[in-house]
Amino acid sequence: MDFELSEDQEALQDAVRKLCAGAYPMATVRSLEAHGGVERDLWRRLADAGVFSLRLPEPDGGVGLGSSEAVLVFEELGRALVPGPLLWSHLGAAVVDGAASGELVIGGVERRGQGGPQPLLLVEHLAALDRLLVLDDAGVWELEPTAVKGELVPHPLDPLTPLHAVQELPPGIQVAGPDTAAAWRLEGATFAAAILLGLAEAVTDMAVAYAKERQQFDRPVGSFQAVKHILADMLVRAEVARAAVYAAGAHLDDPGVGDVLRAVTGAKLMAGDAALANGKACIQVHGGMGFTWEVDAHLYLKRARVLDTVFGSTQAQAEVMAALI
């Protein structure tokens, strides 16, 4: 057993971190609000770095890495607050030509249960998509986004994740069966957890830096225990979540080491917890500044809210977990 990153994994992590710092500095991320969160050139840079082709086999033009590595990549994308349908374009690269290269931007939505009252259906980034994938128990379906009738939600919580309220999804063509759909649910939950982990870490760093700098009562606020303890708790939540998320990646790569569903469920739950609680704590530590649009803290918390609602919320995962014990 060796539950630490290998040198190659550390190098990958480093490379993605640098890519994000170069291509997605915060000013750029914020400017993407005007583009519905997706800008084609930047998207292609992600693709060139292998974000979407990472797990495709090398003969198919992929990088041939595993979920453990994908987790590290998504963690960095989360840390940099990179917007866009990252998860779906990554998953979709296996079934839609042009997704891996970044030529096409692929979005997606989960459809739960058939018949009965349909729950609220919100599609992210609809206007920016080339293809929309629909995931349900029967498999994966590919749709032309233009065929989807929906109304733009005027004030989405996360300004970088535009939403369309959709009444009904057209049938589309089936591109994968139920096994793929089931696998995607696990992978989607794991990589969403990885983004959440990155968000949880980013706001911890941000809050710590601010607490060292901001002076009140003639000293840095980080010297006050009431603040210090908030920050220590943020660190703990992020570290515990990290262990769970890395473990989920390792379970997907090697299902023989344990119960994959349980590992993934726990990871999504712990990372969701960490990102939501740390996001709030970051705003608290920033005081009045934290409540401004200017300071980035709210963007991380809002993204965490978006990701908590996909591939199983913390509430839903807690119930799945209960069924497993």
Partner: protein
């Protein structure tokens, strides 16, 4: 990154399992918790069995009588002994888990050969005399003084909350050897034989109703200078070494026990009482699921900590991260247990046909986890200052 145990680690697991299957049926049930001589006899007998089978000091160096196992094998050992419900370290806790490792790191060769083998054989039991009535969290404020008299220190003062002091042969003792130095600089780490004249142990009754720890009074106790570990007045640094072990792998067995406690609680929640099952309550079900995810994550964190320790040789700050979250999870687990048990949670005995007693004890135990070995507040200070680099308060 690889969560699979290697072939040789699995072979070790197999051997250990075979041995446990053979010997455990010969080990009787543990004595009552207030029967101290019984507990000592029981725990040290188990240690003796481990020793004879070559499993004592599993992660201690071979040349010091240990097995020299890797950190991962150590983890496998803890996993297997818990799974098989083997006796826990019990009264051997201090000797095996932190005094011993501190001696390995800091003591002279003579001290090592004197003290380490009897710990491994289960012949001698240790306790920890760090805390004092006026020095708990602020341990460096300790006042028990040791005055040099020839080749002895004359030690006077009082220690408190000393676990297992009643049955200990030796005590890892922190004393003040220089009253004029700044408080962290005048401390030394001594080995105190508990049968020295002038040592008086008075058991303290805990909130369990039984005595788990004691007050230790020291009245002009003569301790040979040769019993000092490390340099005079350098005891604070030695104590820091002790702490890193205390907060290191010491919690693995605890965590595995907590997983069983949760499993047992799920069983209780699923059983019907007064025509209803607590399990039918969505809130209860979710909190149980949530706790399972927390414990799983802590198990993964343990594996990361173990891997890190095997690369660096010492337990890192992962111990503080672990302890802080673990304490909170145990509080939540205990609170949920009492909520589920309702009036069956009003006794340490099993009531109403459920295994409720262990849940009630678990709830009480949680109260100590966030205090002993550094309170949660102190752990937060450590993480804030030593890991996040935040300025000190004063």
């Amino acid at each position: 990154m690889n969560l699979r145990y290697s072939e040789s680690e699995e072979r070790f697991r197999g051997e250990l399992r075979g041995w446990l299957d053979k010997v455990l049926p010969t080990v009787g049930p543990p004595p009552a918790s207030d029967d101290w001589p019984g507990r000592r006899a029981y725990d040290t007998a188990w240690q003796r069995m481990l020793y004879e089978a070559g499993y004592a000091g599993i992660n201690w160096p071979k040349e010091l009588g240990g097995r020299g196992a890797s950190p991962t094998e150590h983890l496998v050992f803890l996993e297997e002994t818990e799974r098989a419900h083997a006796p826990y370290v019990g009264v051997n806790f201090v000797g095996l888990l932190h005094a011993g490792p501190t001696l390995i790191a800091e003591a002279s060769p003579e001290q090592r050969s004197r003290y380490l083998p009897p710990i491994l054989r289960g012949d001698e039991v240790w306790c920890q005399g760090f805390s004092e009535p006026g020095a708990g969290s602020d341990l460096a404020a300790l006042r028990t003084r040791a005055v040099r008299d020839g080749d002895h220190y004359v030690v006077s003062g009082q220690k408190i909350w000393t676990s297992h002091a009643e049955v200990a042969d030796f005590c890892e003792l922190l004393v003040r050897t220089d009253p004029h130095a700044p408080k962290h600089r005048g401390i030394s780490w001594l080995v105190l034989p508990m049968d020295s004249p002038g040592v008086e142990v008075r058991p303290l009754r805990t909130i369990y109703g039984t005595a788990e720890f004691s007050e230790v009074f020291l009245d002009e106790v003569r301790v040979p200078v040769a019993n000092r570990v490390g340099v005079e007045n350098d005891g604070w640094r030695v104590a820091m070494v002790t702490f890193s072990f205390e907060r290191g792998t010491a919690f693995v067995s605890e965590l595995l026990q907590s997983m069983e406690l949760l499993e047992s609680l799920v069983g209780i929640a699923r059983s019907t009482r007064d025509g209803a099952q607590p399990w039918d309550d969505l809130g209860v079900r979710r909190e149980l699921g949530h706790l399972a995810a927390d414990l799983d994550a802590l198990w993964s964190l343990t594996k990361r900590n173990v891997t890190q320790a095997s690369r660096t040789g010492v337990p890192g700050v992962g111990g503080s991260v672990f302890k802080l979250h673990y304490s909170e999870v145990r509080h939540r687990l205990g609170d949920l247990a009492l909520r589920i048990l309702d009036r069956a949670g009003l006794s340490f005995d099993d009531l109403g046909g459920a295994r409720s007693g262990e849940q009630v004890k678990g709830w009480v135990h949680a109260l100590s986890i966030s205090i002993a070995a550094g309170t949660s507040q102190i752990q937060r200070n450590i993480l804030g200052e030593r890991v996040l680099g935040l300025p000190r308060e004063r």
